[in-house]
Amino acid sequence: MAEYDRQGSVGQPPVTGIGRRQLLGGTVSGASLFLAAPAAFAQFKVEVAGVGLTQRPFALAPFKRVTQVPVAVDQVVIADLERSGEFRQVASASGELDENTRPNFEPWRAVGADALITGSINQVAVGRWDVRYRLWDVVRGEDLGGVSFPAQDSELRLAAHRVADSVYEKLTGVRGVFATRVAYVTADGSQNRLWIADADGESPQAALDSPQPVISPAWSPEGERLAYVSFEARKPVVYVHTLATGKRQVVANYRGSNSAPAWMPDGKGLVATLSLAGHSQIYAIGLEGGRPTRLSDSQSIDTEPTFSPDGKLLYFVSDRGGSPQIYRMAAGGGNVQRITFSGGYNVSPSIAPDGNRMAYVGLVEGRYTLMVMDLTSGAAQPVPGALDVESPSFSANGRMIVYASRTKGRDELITTTVDGRVRTRLLGAKGDIREPAWGPFRD
């Protein structure tokens, strides 16, 4: 990737003779080597659009290209920005512009765009490309800089996501998550699979295929391994699975049940729930072996551990007070504080990357509801419209939450902005799709 400064290079003269041409958002254009993934896994589809005023209008002029590009890079960028819920595309009003051409801003102001993305996709060699873009502030007529991303054929989609991330960060100051991945489980009869897909739901790859259930996938901090619980041994056992090689390591197969793995922020060990003391308690487990260290100390159920981002606190679920509630303790155990007080069933904590908010599931008026708590004040709100919820997981930038929802007897995945205004839905073709875990930033 190369960043070029705001001056850029002086390129060709401005494009003249601009016609009005509507770009249809969302259609896949161009010839394509890319076969649609099996019908089971369409993209996350935007379900509820936010109120128009809160979304910033942008335009993308078709990226200049000489040869046919196997991936619809423009469309991927547009779809990413719209799926964030923070942007909406206005119709394009010109032909192709590349990143070096200073545009005439009037037609873009006329269609109401605040920002304009221009760019090009250049073939460097057979199977190798250079994707470049530049961002323009239409209102002030300013060049906001641009970036180029090298990509092989198989990385073109990722390059498009990186363009969208880069644009998003320039406009919001927040790092984008379009290049991240999501793990999830599908269950169809006795076929259970653990999938890794791009954050938009595309390009799913099955990491595990098992006749027995799989639950609780958890991304390692560097994004190269997954911990999960598999029942293939006819009891729950915690594995760590290296994605690039498919190699698996049994991390916890102690007497009884082993479940609820969560990574330590340094990636060198896990915490998990083990029953070897005769009831479900939380232990620290190093990946190099050695005896697990007990962290929780109750006669009750203690489970669903998850670290704060700085690694100093361990949040968990306990019924020591008579009902399942969320607590936290020091990372090494001790100094336990109760966090949820409202309602009789509060479980499945997920801590936002800034450490200040917690998403969780609370049983409210008979419905399992997605709740978000401000950890500084303790105030908690339900996320509007997020009901029948399981396993919420924050995105790496803390702006969105993915969760599984049971609708009409089937599980599906939903992403939502934290205010509940924009939701997208991923539906499996057959069977259930569940247990989502949003992966870390990819470097």
């Binding site: 076969l35 196997p70 198989s154 049940s257 029953s275 159920i301 247990e435």
Partner: protein, 183 residues
């Protein structure tokens, strides 16, 4: 990735692999197949096969086959049911548990696995712990009835292996259970 043998399925499988190769940009290797877990849950075959005739006949040793007495005591139920959010063994379950405890005391080499389950409501991980608590509850009762601790293991399937599908009281009731199994 797909293991069926029909030509159509193989061709589709090749297309899917091509799609994956064309579309991914991740660190999962491009030519990877998923790790496929062989189903280990199928029981071993029956005990020793019949002897073969021949000059080098070797007299078989009759190891006590796993299939004999595999199911524990005959004509005894194997399932203990529980109330919602409870792991308390109900009075009506004591007879069943006692029968299994007697069997285990009479057959000290046998090992029992108590498999705890829950209905589908709530967090999957909390349900693993609740199923575990139910299994442990049955184990404690067996301990009181004289079964040795190392003859028993308590495990949980949480809500993942329902006995009955459905989102209604009947299914929920049927799923809140411990299954007494001999492996």
């Amino acid at each position: 990735m797909f293991t069926t043998k029909s030509k159509t399925a193989q061709w589709l499988g090749a297309l899917v692999v091509a799609a994956v190769l064309a579309g991914c940009g991740s660190t999962v290797p491009l030519d990877s197949k998923p790790v496929t877990v062989v189903d280990k849950s199928k029981a071993d075959g029956a005990g020793q096969s019949a002897q073969s005739a021949g000059a080098n006949t070797v007299a078989p040793v009759a190891v006590k086959s796993a299939s004999l007495g595999d199911m524990g005591p005959e004509n005894v139920g194997r399932i203990v049911y529980f109330d919602f959010d409870s792991a308390a063994v109900k009075a009506e379950s004591r007879e069943v548990i006692l029968a299994h405890a007697r069997y285990l005391r009479a057959n000290p080499e046998r090992r029992v696995v108590l498999e705890g389950h829950t209905d589908e409501r709530g967090s999957r991980e909390y349900n693993v712990a609740l199923g575990q608590r139910r299994a442990e509850s049955v184990a404690k009762t067996m301990l009181v009835f004289g079964v040795k601790a190392n003859a028993m293991e308590s495990v949980s399937f949480g809500e993942e292996k329902p006995a009955m599908l459905g989102s209604n009281e009947g299914a929920w009731e049927a799923n809140r259970r411990v299954e007494i199994t001999y492996r």
